[in-house]
């Protein structure tokens, strides 16, 4: 069981360290004032993630991301988190008791739905033995692995400019790698983050006045959205931003009634900023959403201000002060991120990629098929859909009859905020139909629709059964459809209990792992590998640090002069070649000069081929080499 504890213990301490961080950031007494109940641990967890992540980025930037410092911080914060949970265990018991009592009171069908929702969320843990997403193999898991091994934060070769993105999630994964989590198991933290986000969504539903059935429906939609579930175990970090965003929404709602209103706005600002750092695209759809939710509390004053100039001045004053508080919090949170970019790139941010993915005709089609494409679309890089339950129950919303004082309800505020966010996204990025870029905004649609579903579920006629039966059907279809991709239960059992090695993970991932392992076993420390592949996660971290990057940009295959390519490789000290057939000139490359020979270390397959490059009397001189500049940290340096 050593393997199991190697996975469980770091996770346990980091989770409690995050809760401890949240406790530091918010005095519990204040939080009670803010949320009208004892502090939800999931909210503390996200706040602590933001605090720890921001602090640890600065530590990594200073080259001090070593076991002594990081383990000490995690231990101290973890103890604080444990103490807090222990001292507040009564609130945990009482909320579980209340959930249990409600479950016992409800009818059999709803009891089964509640269990099914719990199981689908819990089964997400098995994603840790599934395939790792391509982007995660390329960057999102590779960078944390390198940070943990090199104890510093520097741009990842070939992703130099992309390293300018916010790294809140990645630095936490780096902590888990540093604490010794094996293989790619650190991605389990993404599932934990997803579960915490689900809890926050449940809190928002409760805050919006939904009953237990409404909360269950919200979670059923959360658990059957592939745009959410795909991120539980594939190593991409998009759920972190969604979690911070949902917490920000919770504080924005609490600001309407809280006695410490401005304090709630400040915390909402901090959480919005954490979401923006983790996913800058939230600027487009989530920021307008937050503005509406924060202003909604002033709705009565806004209505009065239409006919009263004095009230208008008063309202303007309140809005200006609130905006200043909000943006002060945003600025504070952005400081570590901007510092990172200033140190690494000499600028506050780098530009990378383009958001014009499709032609004008396709873009027109994308816009015309909103919102259906969010549920049944499958565009390039879309990466998942929202739950079909959203579509199934949406008409119920309009058939709920005349809703008295709808604008005074929280779910209406959430609906309007989410709609504004969606419209804002479609207007600004019509060619980017990707839910992950504004996931927190889209998740808010679940609340009003779950409210309508709950309302109809109380009918004694047909609909009383249709709502839970549809939920059960969709959960079953979802589980069956994603049994390999998201829920590889057998692989997970083997990974955690039976074989306890990387041999237990998804077969595609294992074959990829084996190709890189052949390279890892052969290469000397700090050897340069010319990587003709998008993926690098399974490579040894010392090798990843010195692979071909921005400085090797002039190395390229020249059909007219094939010798030049091999000479450039020699001059730059590349002694290994990893090829995954992604290079258009792969076949051509086999034509090589007489002074180059290739020794095959792993047979060429779809998962990659590994070659040692042997130079015999090369015609040039070696201009570059590698050096270990600090324990575990390797640089490419000119030869003397």
């Amino acid at each position: 069981m050593t393997h199991f504890f190697k996975i469980a213990l770091p996770l346990f301490f980091v989770v409690f360290a995050c809760i401890g961080g949240g406790v530091i950031l918010l005095r519990p007494l204040k939080l009670k004032n803010l949320l009208g109940q004892s502090a939800p641990f999931s909210v503390l967890f996200f706040l602590g993630q933001g605090l720890l992540g921001s602090g640890l980025i600065l530590l990594a930037l200073a080259g001090l991301f070593n076991l002594t410092y990081v383990a000490s911080i995690v231990f101290v914060f973890g103890c604080l988190g444990l103490c807090h949970v222990f001292l507040n265990r009564e609130s945990l018991y009482s909320s579980w008791q209340s959930i249990g009592a409600d479950w016992l009171r409800d009818n059999l069908l709803w009891k089964i739905v509640a269990i099914a929702v719990f199981l689908i969320l819990a089964a997400g843990i098995s994603g840790v033995a599934g395939r790792i997403d391509g982007d995660a193999r390329a960057f999102y898991l590779a960078l944390p692995k390198v940070i943990a091994s090199s104890h510093r934060l520097v741009p990842l070769p070939a992703y130099e400019t992309f390293t300018s993105v916010g790294l809140l999630a990645e630095i936490q994964l780096a902590v888990l790698f540093l604490l010794g989590m094996p293989g790619a198991s650190a991605r389990l933290f993404c599932w934990i983050t997803g579960m915490a986000a689900a809890t926050v969504l449940g809190h928002i539903a409760a805050y919006a006045g939904l009953g237990r059935r409404g909360q269950i429906l919200s979670l059923a939609m959360f658990g059957t959205s592939s745009a959410v579930a795909l991120f539980w175990g594939q190593g991409k970090t998009d759920l972190f931003a969604a979690g911070y965003g949902l917490c920000a929404v919770l504080f924005a709602l609490s600001s309407w009634t809280s006695t410490a209103r401005r304090y709630a706005i400040f915390v909402a600002g901090m959480l919005t900023a954490f979401a923006l750092v983790a996913k800058l695209s939230y600027l487009v759809a989530f920021l307008p959403c937050m503005a509406i939710l924060l202003l909604w509390g002033e709705l009565p004053k806004i209505i009065i201000s239409f006919r009263d100039s004095e009230a208008r001045t008063e309202l303007l004053k309140i809005c200006v002060v609130d905006a200043l508080i909000f943006f002060a919090a945003v600025s504070i949170v952005f400081l570590p991120h901007l510092t990172k970019n200033l140190v690494l790139f000499g600028s506050l941010g780098e530009t990378y990629g383009s958001h014009q993915y499709f032609s004008a005709d396709t873009t027109k089609r994308i816009v015309l098929t909103y919102p259906l494409l969010l549920i049944f679309g499958n565009f390039w890089a879309q990466y998942g859909n929202l739950s079909p339950l959203l579509l199934a129950f949406f008409p119920l919303f309009f058939l709920s009859g005349k809703i008295r004082n709808a604008f005074a309800t929280t779910w209406m505020a959430l609906l309007i905020a989410a709609l504004s966010g969606l419209i804002s996204w479609v207007v600004i990025f019509p060619a980017v139909p990707m839910p992950r870029y504004f996931l927190a905004t889209l998740l808010l649609f679940f609340i009003p629709v779950a409210w309508a579903g709950e309302r109809f579920s109380q009918s004694r006629k047909l609909l009383g059964c249709a709502v839970p039966l549809a939920s059960l059907s969709v959960i079953f279809i979802f589980f069956k459809a994603f049994s390999i991709e998201i829920f590889p239960l057998k692989n997970a059992y083997d990974y955690f209990v039976k074989t306890q090695t990387e041999q237990a993970i998804n077969v595609d991932e294992r074959l990829s792992y084996e190709a890189y392992t052949a390279l890892n076993n052969a290469a000397e420390p700090g050897a340069r590998v010319y990587l003709i592949s998008y993926f690098r996660f399974w490579m040894r971290p010392d090798l990843i640090q010195v692979t071909n990057g921005i400085h090797d940009g002039d190395i390229g295959w020249d059909e007219k002069n094939p010798d030049k390519f091999w000479l450039q490789l020699y001059e730059s000290d590349f002694t290994y070649l990893f090829v995954d057939r992604s290079h258009p000139a792969f076949e051509e490359m086999k034509k090589k000069p007489s002074w180059v020979s290739l020794e095959q270390l792993h047979p060429q397959s779809n998962y990659g081929g590994v070659y040692r490059i042997i130079y015999t009397n090369p015609p040039g001189i070696r201009k570059w080499t590698t050096r270990e500049v600090a324990p575990g940290a390797w640089d490419v340096v000119p030869t003397k």
């Binding site: 499709f358 098929t369 079909p388 008409p395 058939l399 009918s459 549809a470």
Partner: protein, 52 residues
């Protein structure tokens, strides 16, 4: 809320339809017959951006 049995039946039919469409979309139910094949054409339309 006053709802007729016809109204409720229509809503139920809509919910069943969405569940069926989802099962075809995820290849859990076979896309046979005119409805199944039409749905597949519809899904292709919703992913035609593969053509850029």
């Amino acid at each position: 809320m006053k709802r007729s049995i016809v109204g409720e039946s229509l809503i139920c039919a809509w919910i069943v339809l969405v569940c069926y469409v989802f099962s075809v979309y995820k290849d859990v139910a076979p896309a046979t017959g005119l409805v199944g094949r039409s749905l597949k054409v519809f899904f292709t339309y919703l992913s035609a951006a593969y053509l850029q």
